[in-house]
Symmetry: C2
Subunit: 206 residues, 2 copies
């Protein structure tokens, strides 16, 4: 407050500095950028933040963000409701949607099991997944979680929860990226890409 000679200025710097990965120096740069632009821009920015938190909720079915009670993906009857892809958060939904390769539904866990950070299954959207599978319409659950210890723990936890329900349980393929050089790949990924090799498939070969 004293530092910048203005309470309003200080509050704005504080607000930006609370964003993830933003220190006070970067926050200051952002505040100065807002000050340099037309007043309508700042008004629109401020309103966008306020409306965001007020109007955006979560889909009651898949926990994706949505401004309706059911998100656009769950509401789309052309999608395959027998397929459910389980992801950590909304960013993963966006990433998978952007591939254009997936026509099933999603289930957003809202995190992964992480004892070090105190995140237990009870804090995640696990029960609604179990209920969804138990309802009987889902044929396959695809795990698209990070390839970390926490991700693997979560996959194993969900596997134990879901296996008695008789649903197919799969994980997304791990391997060398398309265009990736073998010599730069890490050993674990390269090793797994050999173990999980897939049959050669070419449109001209029968």
């Amino acid at each position: 407050m004293k530092q910048y000679q203005s309470k309003v200025f200080e509050e704005a710097v504080d607000a930006f500095a609370r964003l993830p990965g933003i220190g006070r120096r970067t926050a200051l740069r952002m505040v100065l950028a807002v000050l340099k632009r037309p007043a309508e821009d700042a008004e629109r920015f401020g309103q966008a933040v306020i409306r965001l938190r007020k109007e955006i909720g979560y889909c009651v079915k898949c926990h994706n963000i949505s401004d309706q009670s059911t998100c656009g993906i769950c509401a789309d009857t052309r999608r395959d409701a027998s397929l459910v892809c389980v992801v950590e958060d909304i960013r993963d939904v966006i990433a998978i949607e952007n591939t254009g390769q997936y026509r099933g539904l999603f289930h957003v866990l809202g995190g992964i099991i992480n004892p070090m950070e105190g995140i237990s299954p009870s804090q995640l959207n696990v029960q609604s997944l179990v209920d969804k599978v138990a309802a009987g319409r889902v044929k396959e659950v695809i795990m698209a979680l990070p390839a970390t210890m926490e991700g693997d723990t979560t996959v194993y936890y969900l596997f134990k929860k879901l296996r008695e329900l008789g649903v197919r349980f799969s994980v997304i393929a791990r391997g060398i990226a398309i265009g990736g050089e073998l010599e730069y790949a890490d050993e674990v990924t390269l090793g797994r890409s050999i173990v999980n090799r897939t049959p050669y498939d070419h449109p001209l070969v029968k």
Copy 2:
């Protein structure tokens, strides 16, 4: 709009992505962070941005940011009004104020001369500096501009503008940082630090 299934969400991502140095991926991360926090936080953030642009103006004397017509520094009668430190922008005022070593006033140019980016002297707060010096109360003008070609050009331009007004004209010292190792210093800085050496001064030596 289509990509995120929600116009409100998309608008918020757009707003963050317009900040300096923020791409769409980081903007998305920020929006999700805002969504995870309490609604009051988002409300306060939004209001802070709106109020910032509405209530903050510039000091009529030095062009520093201020919520009054005259900023706290210019209004402080204990400060030495015969000294004016010329800086590029408000961040420099904050940096110099934080040293606690300067008791004069400031003059914020609002940029430096940069023909490549089309910034000419007419877009900077030059005339108000000339008027201030011409008024006769200022004894010394200290240039605290970046040590770049653009900074040097601006210093030279202002020197030509101000020299006939009979004011002392100085630039901040350039040299090896305190605690800096000589072997890691660049040659230009090291060279200038030798040319601009200062007489040895020790409290126990007369």
